[in-house]
């Protein structure tokens, strides 16, 4: 039996128990938890007005709270996080060194500069703090304020940072949140919640976070929970199957925000192949885009279009470049990327098949250390969506039209080289569906925490945007009543709170 226990946390209360066991087929990845079905009456926030206590807390106090939380998430002192790492090291596709680095950086998500940037850029702090007079037109004034909502977040488990980011975002919006954890990371969100309880058990922020695991699609839980009387916003990361399950609960009164599963690609223009030194530099940058987080994330490079040309010299250049990229992947330090024991089985089967494809592909590597597949034509491999564990596909091209046209609504990030190519193609990439365009080499190592994600601004979407219009008597509703004498203007109190 597994020793891992994922507590059920409901608004500051830790409910320990081991009623049910979940996880993968591998016994090492299993964990026990409480049967959420027994607590369905307590899981949702009973009335929306119970959010009011969050409005006794100012934004500055929220920043202070999160700053203190960040400090307490120091990995070497936080037993909850240490326990989470012990499990994720088995369930995640990431090696211990990368995971440890992720956990060591978890607190920085809550750093004041990050929290302020997210709030100010994506929402606007004044909108969180009060009614903002957005327009005055004669006697008409409009005010807008961003309110929190009762939300459920179905988080992805490939990188533990997702749980931290979700909690930070939710706190900024003053929402009540239920985190539905994934089977590949059932402990990180709970560890953060437990740290909050240790720190400030009665604080409204602590009392508006719940963390639960149930098997995604469990109708017993979801039929009861996903009702407009319980939940206003559902934020779902990844997992086509989970999003399809949730979609059936969508009805007026429930807003579904999907951060769909995505894939990313790369476009490398002709200049990169001018000379050997430049080629090496570009190979190293590309290796980072491919390898960081072991290519487990949606932003990692998978199909890489290289404008070497497709004549004999071009293919030859692509092959030379492929070899350089493979070596560069092997040189990435272990806290950013690591070899795995074996490739994902579905990908491994495809890789085995490649050896029988004749001269259509050139292969560098191919085991748990990763691989670079160089297409010998301008076609990517058909199994490109399976690429992971540091396996990339270089596709030589003559014309940039090919990669531009290959972009779809499932394309998240595109790494581009050189930078002066970006303004020439970015509008067209966006028309086709691309959602993030980045200088090659910075795709995975640097990421703006306060930017849009997957073509939307999740923080804005997570808020309820309330409009208040105030008209003084100089504004006539439709037409003047006959014989009416204007009423005396009542004393006005400031509508701008």
């Amino acid at each position: 039996m597994t020793d891992f226990k994922a507590p059920l946390i409901i608004r500051g209360e830790i409910i320990a128990g081991t009623d049910v066991e979940f996880g993968g087929r591998n016994p090492e990845t299993r964990f026990r938890t409480v049967d959420v079905g027994k607590y369905l009456d307590r899981l949702p926030l009973e009335t929306p007005s119970s959010l009011a206590d969050l409005y006794t807390v100012s934004f500055n106090e929220i920043v202070d709270y999160l700053e203190e939380l960040g400090r307490r998430l120091a990995f070497d002192k936080n037993e909850h996080l240490q326990q989470a790492l012990r499990l994720t090291v088995r369930t995640s596709g990431l090696g211990a060194a990368i995971l440890r680095a992720c956990y060591e950086n978890l607190g920085s998500v809550f750093a004041p500069e990050n929290v302020r940037a997210m709030a100010d850029i994506q929402i606007g702090i004044p909108f969180l703090e009060g009614w903002v007079n957005t327009r005055t037109d004669g006697g008409t004034k409009t005010f807008v304020r961003a309110f929190g909502a009762r939300s459920v977040h179905i988080v992805a488990g490939n990188v533990p940072t997702v749980s931290a980011l979700t909690i930070a975002r939710n706190t900024i919006t003053r929402s009540d949140m239920i985190v539905k954890t994934p089977s590949n990371d059932p402990l990180t969100a709970a560890a953060i919640a437990q740290t909050m309880i240790d720190m400030a058990p009665q604080h409204p922020i602590t009392r508006h976070l719940s963390v639960a695991y149930w098997k995604g699609g469990d109708a017993r839980v979801e039929d009861a929970l996903y009702q407009p009387r319980n939940v206003e916003k559902i934020v779902a990361w990844g997992g086509m199957a989970s999003i399809q399950h949730i979609a059936k609960y969508i009805q007026p009164g429930i807003d579904l925000i999907t951060l769909d599963p995505k894939l990313s690609s790369t476009i490398i223009g002709r200049d990169a192949f001018d000379d050997d030194a430049r080629m090496l530099e570009v190979a190293r940058r590309l290796a980072l885009d491919i390898g960081v987080y072991n290519q487990q994330a949606c932003l990692n490079a998978r199909v890489v279009y290289v404008q070497t040309g497709t004549d004999r010299a071009g293919i030859e250049a692509a092959n030379r470049f492929g070899k350089l990229v493979y070596s560069a992947i092997q040189a990435i330090p272990l806290h950013l990327s690591n070899p795995v024991r074996q490739l994902d089985p579905a990908l491994a089967e495809e890789m085995e098949g490649l050896r029988f494809a004749g001269d259509s592909y050139r292969l560098f590597g191919g085991d748990g250390r990763g691989a670079v597949i160089v297409s010998q034509t301008d076609e990517p491999v058909e199994f490109a969506p399976l690429l992971a564990n540091r396996v990339a596909n270089l596709v030589p091209i003559d014309d940039l039209e090919i990669p531009i046209r290959a972009v779809t609504a499932y394309t998240q990030t595109i790494g581009i080289y050189p930078d002066d190519l970006i303004p020439k193609i970015r509008d067209r990439l966006a028309f086709h569906g691309a959602q993030r365009l980045v200088t090659l080499g910075y795709v995975a190592t640097r990421r703006t925490i306060a930017g849009p994600q997957d073509g939307i601004e999740p923080l804005r979407r997570m808020c309820k945007w309330i409009l208040n219009e105030v008209h003084d008597s100089s504004v006539v509703p439709y037409w003047p009543w006959p014989d009416a004498t204007p009423a005396r203007e009542p004393a006005r109190s400031g509508a701008h709170a």
Binding site: F22, G23, G24, R25, N26, T29, T91, I154, V155, A156, G157, N158, V162, P182, S183, N184, K215, G216, G217, W237, G238, G239, M240, A241, S242, H245, L259, P261, K262, L263, Q296, A297, C298, N300, R341, Q342, P345, A346, E349, E350, E352, G353, R355, F356, A357, G358, S360, T377, E379, V381, E382, P385, L386, A388, R405, A406, T408, A409, Y410, G433
Partner: protein
């Protein structure tokens, strides 16, 4: 059988004749003799084929295998099943059938280099050309996202498939027979298309010829037309493109699109075909034993259609119903079994384990085990390292097999299946069969570990592909 019973020494020299032994004879061969037979057979196949099949030659060179000294030497020569669809998709998209032929030529002893496939516009045309001009009978899969696997079985092995089919109906000791009458005396019913290039369609052609002496009325299908490889492929590609929102980028020649229209029109007739089929079996074979080739969802569909028309209890209880292949990912009504029994008449459903790469499948014994016949040499590998497990006891691993019947292609394949195999040495099955056997509960390694609930932010189109694969499979 037209050939006399082969002696042990004959079998060492001609391993393709093992399958001519009756089921009782085959499973009575002592374990050590089975191993000797298999080693001799494997050695013979390797020596015959290594210079004639380019893919095998390359594999042998890469693995530095010059000859088969022990059966373990065969392990590194197993070809992953994905190799049979390793050609680039653009060959299909751009109708480059000359290149597809060159690729296929690497897998067979039949010389395809003289075949002029340049002018083929479709997979069906290409298959027809191979049928007409060569002794290769390609078996194709339905494929994921439109990419089909192609296995170059020869006419030699096609005939052996018929022998393998007969074997299923051999009585084993005092076990009840699988069917109430001799296999030649019952019609074969396939609840799908009559013609096509998948293993079952090809098998029907050969059953008609070699089991029924050319009597076409002994083969009954729910649809007399052809299962088009192009329709399967294009259907897959279209749906993938639709799912990705990139329909405009799909490359399908107008000529092929016309054929898809024809295919869809053909599909519209299917209700009429179903009426005719139900009428036919209900008049000609009512109350009689028949042999049915299907999987459970197909059986359920036909039963539903039949019951809708008020037809029940059509066949004798002594019929044989092959219901392998699992549920194909579908969730059927909870009472599917009652529906099937009510229509088909209550014959038991026989499950088995097999794959297109082997000439015949094996049916479960009364203990629910799939006993591998001596012509099928099993291999069990560590899924992570590819190391072979010792050939003893009971272990779980990645299943591979070598089919000694194949003489024109290299029939050593590595599946993607996780299989629990008993080698038959320390725990013989109480049914009495000697030799290795596979336990129920086979699964694919590529199935998601930990189910749907392991959520990552990467992926997507692939999830669609899997669903689409299924839609295509249910076209029939």
């Amino acid at each position: 059988m037209d050939k006399p019973f082969a002696s042990q020494s004959d079998l060492h020299a001609a391993p393709e004749r093992i399958i001519e032994l009756s089921t009782a004879e085959m499973y009575a061969i002592p374990l050590a003799e089975q191993a000797a037979l298999q080693l001799a057979g494997a050695r013979r196949r390797f020596e015959e084929l290594v210079e004639r099949i380019p893919v095998l030659k390359r594999l042998a060179e890469e693995q530095s295998i010059a000859g088969i000294r022990t059966i373990e030497d065969m392990g590194p020569l197993l070809v992953p099943h994905s190799a049979m669809k390793s050609y680039p998709m653009s060959y299909l998209e751009k109708s480059q059938f000359d290149r597809l032929t060159a690729w296929l030529n690497g897998f067979t002893t039949h010389d395809l280099s003289g075949l002029d496939a340049k002018n083929c516009d479709s997979i069906d045309e290409w298959l027809d050309l191979l049928d007409a001009k060569t002794d290769v009978r390609v078996l194709h899969s339905t494929g994921t996202s439109g990419k089909l696997s192609f296995l170059p079985r020869g006419t030699t092995e096609m005939k052996i498939m018929v022998t393998g089919w007969r074997r299923m109906f051999d009585r084993y000791r005092d076990e009840p027979p699988r069917m109430g009458v001799a296999v030649e005396d019952a019609p074969t019913i396939f609840v799908q298309y009559r013609r096509g290039g998948m293993a079952q369609h090809r098998l029907l052609d050969y059953l008609q010829e070699y089991l029924y002496g050319g009597d076409a009325t002994k083969i009954v299908t729910t649809n007399p037309s052809r299962f088009s490889a192009d329709a399967a492929s294009i259907g897959g590609r279209l749906r993938v493109a639709q799912a990705k929102g990139e329909l405009g980028k799909l490359r399908i020649s107008p000529k092929l699109m016309e054929r898809r229209e024809a295919f869809l029109k053909e599909q519209e007739k299917s209700a009429g075909y179903m009426d005719a089929f139900l009428h036919d079996v209900n008049t000609r074979f009512r109350g009689k034993p028949v042999s049915i080739l299907a999987h459970v969802p197909m059986l359920f569909n036909v039963a539903t259609e039949g019951l809708k028309r008020g037809i029940e209890n059509v066949f004798a209880r002594e019929s044989f119903i092959m219901a392998g292949g699992g549920m194909k990912g579908l969730t059927l009504a909870h009472d599917w079994r009652q529906t099937v029994d009510r229509f088909f008449g209550g014959a038991p459903l026989s499950d088995g384990y097999g794959m297109t790469e082997m000439v015949a499948s094996t049916r479960a014994c009364p203990q629910g085990r799939y006993h591998l016949p001596p012509w099928e040499i099993p291999f069990l590998l560590d899924p992570a390292t590819g190391e072979q497990y010792p050939r003893t006891g009971t272990q779980t691993g990645r299943f591979g097999a070598f089919d000694l019947n194949a003489q024109t292609y290299w029939a050593g394949f590595l599946t993607g299946d996780e299989v629990t195999l008993s080698w038959g040495d320390d725990a013989p099955c109480s049914c009495g069969r000697i030799g290795p056997y596979v336990h129920r509960g086979i699964r694919r390694y590529s199935e998601t570990e930990g189910g749907d609930d392991k959520i990552t932010c990467a992926g997507a189109p692939d999830a669609h592909d899997k669903a689409i694969d299924f839609i295509i499979q249910s076209i029939g």
